[in-house]
Amino acid sequence: MSASPTITPGVTSGPGSDFSDVTGSDAALRRFLHGLPGVDQVGAEARAAALGTRSIKTTAKEFAIDLAIRMVDLTTLEGADTAGKVRALAAKAMLPDPADQTCPSTAAVCVYPDLVAVAKQTLGESGVHVAAVATAFPSGRAALDIKLADTRDAVEAGADEIDMVIDRGAFLSGHYRQVYDEIVAVREACGSAHLKVIFETGELQTYDNVRRASWLAMMAGAHFIKTSTGKVQPAATLPVTLVMLEAVRDFREATGRMVGVKPAGGIRTSKDAIKYLVMVNEVAGPDWLDPDWFRFGASTLLNDLLMQRTKMTTGRYSGPDYFTLD
């Protein structure tokens, strides 16, 4: 029981299809985005809730917890961030549980652009990526050249991944072409760095808009689509992520290109994380169960995952006293 049909009108199937016919003008882009099938809100929420009731225990839980740790983008995006805090966070990303060397490291550390160099220096060749939020995060209210300069700065400082925010004002006023062009420009400025596009779904109002934004970003060349900045409530929710997972699934069916998904903000417990993983497997498919294709933007989630992991290995419940405050 899927919340929406997979058929997407107006897209020629098969690998390598380009979207020049639909992205050529504002009108064509609007015709395409508004031609996407609407999201059945009740159905999407019911499906997300139903998938959240699966019982994941023992070895499956062990697998899920380790996978979730490997998918975490350990994030600190505070005005009060210091170089010391970023170094501590980077150290934690490399070795989340100092008491257990078998614990995998996280996927990335996510910081503001000015702290990229600090994070990069600490992480070195550990394989943990540095992600930087750019383009006047979190509001996205700046001129395009400032956004591009912000992006280039972060890339030059060594960022492997760029998290950009879309211009929600332009999106909500229907200026899809402007949003599209901005994503394309930032993608160019990224060079070899991967681009994650943040929609701030809490400001997009409807699931239909989330689906449109997903297609818009994917057509513009995003490597990842991301729900939220974490600065606006509601942040990531299961139904919103469900809609985005359906979009990446349909996009691969239509074009053969795979796009990753990153829910961010509000995911605090292992149980929540496991619900997301179940949904990834059921909606997008097992191909997405990989840190290259699915990430969690989180900070407190990691400690809960570590506590659950400790419970699985030692048999006793752990407590926050035994993990770093960050």
Binding site: G315, R316, Y317, S318, G319, P320, D321, Y322
Partner: protein, 286 residues
């Protein structure tokens, strides 16, 4: 003859200020002394115990940060509300334990009085067990008792007086509690929980689980986020020993089971067992 259908009460757990069923969905039959069915009580699982610890930890900051005077007011309020619902509790004691009406009245009297007694100690204990220490230097040196954190309490068989006697001393000093109620007589414990829920006790300060000690106690004893455990209700010496060993891993404060006359006026030991002493040095004249 009335055709009205009985409205029977479901006895649930008390976790984080709410009354959830056991997450396991299990329940067990509670019988009176003659073996007749009284009610179904929730059979709490280890997961419920874990949830209760999380709730207690969350409540600890706020509760321990209140003034001791305010904590006294809250505990006194429990006594007030208990007094106003004494008829219900007396009936429950008679049903579950089979005691006489006068005995039930005595137990409720004692439970109310015990709450008042402990409430009075809240803002006086520091003067008795704290100290201004004389030191060889120009310093104020002050030792003050501080609450330990989350305390697991295995309540004794006595359904009301026993529970009040082990619970009040733990919370009045600022700790939060996860209580495993009397396995044999869980119903008055849940009624007491309803009293506390309406007596300004913040959610999570007291959490009451009904179920088997053998299932719930080991998880609580081994839990790294529990700071102390009161084993009063454990009557099996082998189990008590294994619980003490499990509790040693994070240096929990342990109160061992020991014979105790609950009818007599208590000592301070139940309060001091779950306090730690903080000593502060402060230069004189600064």
């Amino acid at each position: 003859m009335s055709n009205r259908i009985d409205v029977r009460k479901t006895y649930k757990l008390y976790i984080g200020g709410a009354f959830p069923r056991s997450e396991s969905g299990r329940s067990y039959e509670v019988l009176d002394p003659k073996g007749r069915f009284l009610a179904n009580a929730s059979l709490a699982s280890r997961k419920d115990a874990r949830d209760a610890v999380v709730a207690a930890r969350k409540a600890f900051g706020g509760w321990s940060g209140r003034t001791s005077y305010n904590r006294a007011q809250v505990v006194y309020r429990i006594a007030e509300v208990l007094e106003s619902r004494r008829a219900q509790l007396e009936q429950e004691l008679r049903d579950s334990e089979g005691v006489s009406a006068s005995k039930a009245r005595d137990y409720v009297d004692l439970a109310v009085d015990r709450l008042v007694w402990y409430a009075g100690w809240a803002d006086k204990l520091t003067q008795v067990v704290g100290n201004a220490n004389p030191v060889a230097g120009p310093f104020f040196n002050l030792s003050t008792p501080e609450p330990s954190g989350v305390i697991a309490v295995i309540a004794p068989k006595g359904p009301l007086l026993g529970l009040v006697s082990v619970l009040a001393p733990v919370i009045v000093t600022g700790n939060t509690a996860v209580v495993v109620a009397s396995e044999e007589h869980p119903l008055p414990a849940i009624t007491l929980a309803e009293i506390m829920a309406t007596a300004d006790v913040p959610g999570g300060v007291v959490n009451i689980l009904t179920g088997t000690r053998a299932e719930l106690a080991p998880g609580l004893a081994a839990h790294m986020d529990v700071n102390g455990i009161d084993l009063t209700g454990i009557d099996d010496p082998a189990l008590a020993l294994s619980l003490e060993q499990a509790a040693a891993d994070n240096l929990k404060r342990v109160r061992r089971p020991a014979a105790e006359d609950l009818l007599a006026t208590p000592s301070l030991s139940r309060m001091t067992a779950f306090l730690e002493t903080k000593t502060v040095w402060h230069p004189i004249g600064v």
